[in-house]
């Protein structure tokens, strides 16, 4: 093969032509997304369906969702390096790759979302430390750097680079330092996952989103951390399964996936319980203030079904499926549970941003509905395609799955 010198030893990859054509095909949606992004930068945000009632739309919701899904990286890293669950070394690499993609995507979307991208650095230079968004920006930026450093040894393990002694010993020492780096990552990650929850939770002008809390953090701060820890591993499993589907072989042992699924199941259960308590507590507060709870669910499409969908169908059901040993070990059901769990988290992020803004606060305000246009969709989906390309490249040329050779002898 044309590039066989770069492919890790002892593993099989598809022909270079096939690989190349797939990468080329993926460039079509990438191109469309890039055009949309350039439209936003060049012609300003009037290219979207965002308006004065919906300053936050698909972008911010997707941002929050992506970061939550990328939470698998910090949580798996935490389990592997800090708690020291050895088994997970077989999947932590992939979690890191997914994390890098998710965080790069989140930052890219933010860069399109802000009205004056050239001034984006103000958030760091003129930081307002009381703003949740500042915390988000600082921690995401720093955590992205951590992820890059975690990705670096993987990159250096490419067969051709690994021949050289300096990158090899550098990678070796990075592996040694990984617990420290992972611990920093956990610290940063917990804060920004939480701050993303705080973004909506501190808005006391928006009773739908506002929550009281602990010290400077509203309850949503802690709910978001927990939900990211709960669904992140599910997303890692999901992407691994998708990769296995396209690679047509097993890449990670069932036992490894089982550990992640079990932990995720426990955390999801805990999260759903706390979410129910939080929702009921919020009902009480709203009632006490004299507002009928149903007024928050009176505007279609944001009816009661949203709550049922989020908490029961996309929350409790996957939690139980993951918690139960029998269902968890059945692969189709496991995949279904992961899909539901991830969808639940994305839906929660949508509710906390878009629905929170959609519900009129002033009594004489009219309900306005919002739906994203193609520019928003194309830019939001852009990371998906770029991510696919990055995953394809990483899978092809880097030894990401330590168990691959063992599982696929030839």
């Amino acid at each position: 093969m044309f590039d066989s010198a770069l492919i890790p030893k002892g593993v099989k990859r598809c022909s270079f032509a096939k690989f190349f054509i797939w990468v080329l095909i993926l460039h079509i949606p990438v191109l469309i997304g890039t055009v949309a992004a350039i439209l936003c930068w060049g012609l300003a945000l009037n290219q979207t369906y965002l308006n004065n009632n919906f300053p936050f739309g698909l972008w911010i919701a997707a941002d929050l969702g992506i970061i939550a899904l990328g939470g698998g990286a910090f949580f798996t890293g935490f389990l592997r390096y800090v708690i020291n669950i050895k088994e997970l070394k077989n999947i932590v690499n992939y979690a890191v790759v997914i994390g890098v993609i998710c965080y790069a995507a989140a930052q890219g979307i933010l860069a399109i979302d802000i009205g004056q991208p050239i001034r984006g650095w103000f958030i760091f230079w003129h930081a307002n430390v009381h703003s949740m968004l500042t915390e988000v920006a600082f921690c995401i930026m720093a955590y992205f750097m951590v992820l890059c450093v975690e990705y670096l040894p993987l990159l250096l393990e490419n067969r051709q680079i690994f021949k050289f002694s300096v990158p090899r010993s550098f990678a070796h020492h990075l592996h040694e330092a990984m617990p420290t780096i992972a611990a920093i990552g956990v610290f940063l990650s917990c804060f920004h996952q939480g701050s993303l929850g705080g973004v909506a939770g501190v808005l006391y002008g928006r009773p739908f989103a506002y929550r009281e809390g602990f010290l400077v953090w509203p309850w949503t701060f802690f709910l978001f951390i927990l939900s990211a820890m709960a669904c992140g591993p599910c997303f890692t499993i999901l992407i691994t399964k998708i990769t296995e589907f396209f690679a047509k072989k097993k890449l990670v042992k069932k036992s490894v996936v089982g550990i992640l699924a079990k932990i995720s199941g426990g955390l999801t259960t805990l999260y759903v319980l706390l979410k129910i308590i939080d929702t009921l507590g919020w009902f009480g507060l709203v009632k006490e203030a004299g507002a009928p709870v149903k007024s928050f669910y009176a505007n279609q499409p944001y009816g009661w079904w949203v709550l049922v969908m989020e908490v029961i169908i996309l929350g409790a059901i996957p939690a139980l499926l993951l918690l139960n040993k029998k269902t968890r070990e059945n692969e189709p059901i496991l995949i279904l549970a992961c899909v539901l769990n991830c969808a639940g988290i994305v839906m929660n992020r949508w509710i906390m941003t878009v629905q929170a803004l959609a519900i009129p606060v002033m009594p004489f305000d009219k309900f306005v509905s919002y739906h994203p246009n193609w520019v928003e969709w194309a830019t939001t989906l852009l990371p998906l395609w770029v991510g696919a390309i990055v995953i394809m490249l990483s899978y092809r040329y880097l030894p990401i799955f330590p168990q691959e050779r063992e599982l696929n002898p030839y």
Binding site: A44, L45, P55, G115, P117, R119, F122, I123, G205, P207
Partner: protein, 273 residues
């Protein structure tokens, strides 16, 4: 901010009075003519686009007149026009912070403890729009387009107000530049305090019905001081604890009720939700 605030207070004697500018709008007098909106747009160089003058979701208004109705059928039908400038919320209770100010990641907006005015600095704002999400009154608006005026109209822009570039948030400033101008005059006459008639907002002066009264809410000599204490006075969404500095008065009970979602608790003080 805290330090600055303390210093400000420390110099209270030297720098004269601390103001708390606010507005009392008499809804019974308002005819909904929209003169306040027009005056505001002219005064503050608010850009407009011919194609969406009717699009309330992307057209920027600093002052916006809402039409509200009691929902009754003839002859019980009654409507009321409600002009809505920026409330310049003070915040109180355990918030003690203006909803839009604390969320700004780049300190592009602040609450001035000497005037009670919430600022917006366009050159600092980078357009994250978090403040718009924080404001329950839809006061803050975003520049979705580059500002453009019909040919020749640029010559008539107000030099005291800097025009906004696209991609930043803007909002009513209580015509703060008029206070700056008034202060200039006061300083040159060697006094620190600004008289009531020296500083009036454009909308106040433009209202043909005299529905808007503007002044220092803490100064007993200003008209707003008494007006805000009348039994018919109320504020929008008082229950949220935003502590706005714009008061409304109306003799009609349904209008007063319509100001708060939380009708059940009307008049029983502020509850935090």
């Amino acid at each position: 901010m805290k330090d600055a605030h303390h210093k400000g207070e420390g110099h209270q004697e030297g720098h004269g009075t601390v103001y708390k500018y606010g507005m009392v709008i008499n809804l019974d007098k308002c005819t909904g003519c929209g003169a306040c909106m027009v005056a505001c747009m002219a005064e503050n160089n608010i850009p407009f686009r011919k194609e969406d003058t009717n699009d309330r979701l992307t057209q920027n208004f600093w002052m916006r007149v809402y039409k509200i109705s009691n929902g009754g059928s003839f002859p019980d039908n009654d409507i009321c026009y409600l002009p809505r400038p920026c409330m310049h919320c003070e915040g109180h209770g355990h918030h003690n912070r203006t909803p839009c100010v604390t969320v700004c990641p780049a300190v592009a907006t602040d609450y001035n403890h000497e005037t009670g005015i919430v600022s917006q600095i366009y050159t600092r704002c980078f357009g994250c729009r978090y403040c718009m999400a924080a404001c329950p009154y839809h006061v803050r608006v975003f520049n979705w387009w580059d500002p453009k005026w019909p040919e020749g109209m640029e010559e008539y822009l107000n030099p005291d107000v800097s025009p906004r570039m696209r991609g930043v948030v803007e909002k009513c400033s209580f015509c703060f530049h008029r206070l700056q101008r008034a202060r200039n005059k006061a300083y040159s006459e060697d006094r620190r305090e600004v008289h009531e008639d020296e500083y009036q907002t454009a909308c106040t002066q433009a209202c043909p019905a005299g529905a808007i009264t503007f002044g220092d809410l803490t100064n007993p000599e200003h008209k707003v001081y008494e007006l805000k204490k009348t039994p018919n006075a109320f504020r929008l969404l008082e229950v949220l604890g935003t502590n706005p500095k714009v008061y409304y008065t109306s003799s009609r009970a349904w209008v007063r009720k319509a100001a708060d979602v939380y009708v059940g608790k009307e008049g029983s003080g502020v509850t935090h939700t």
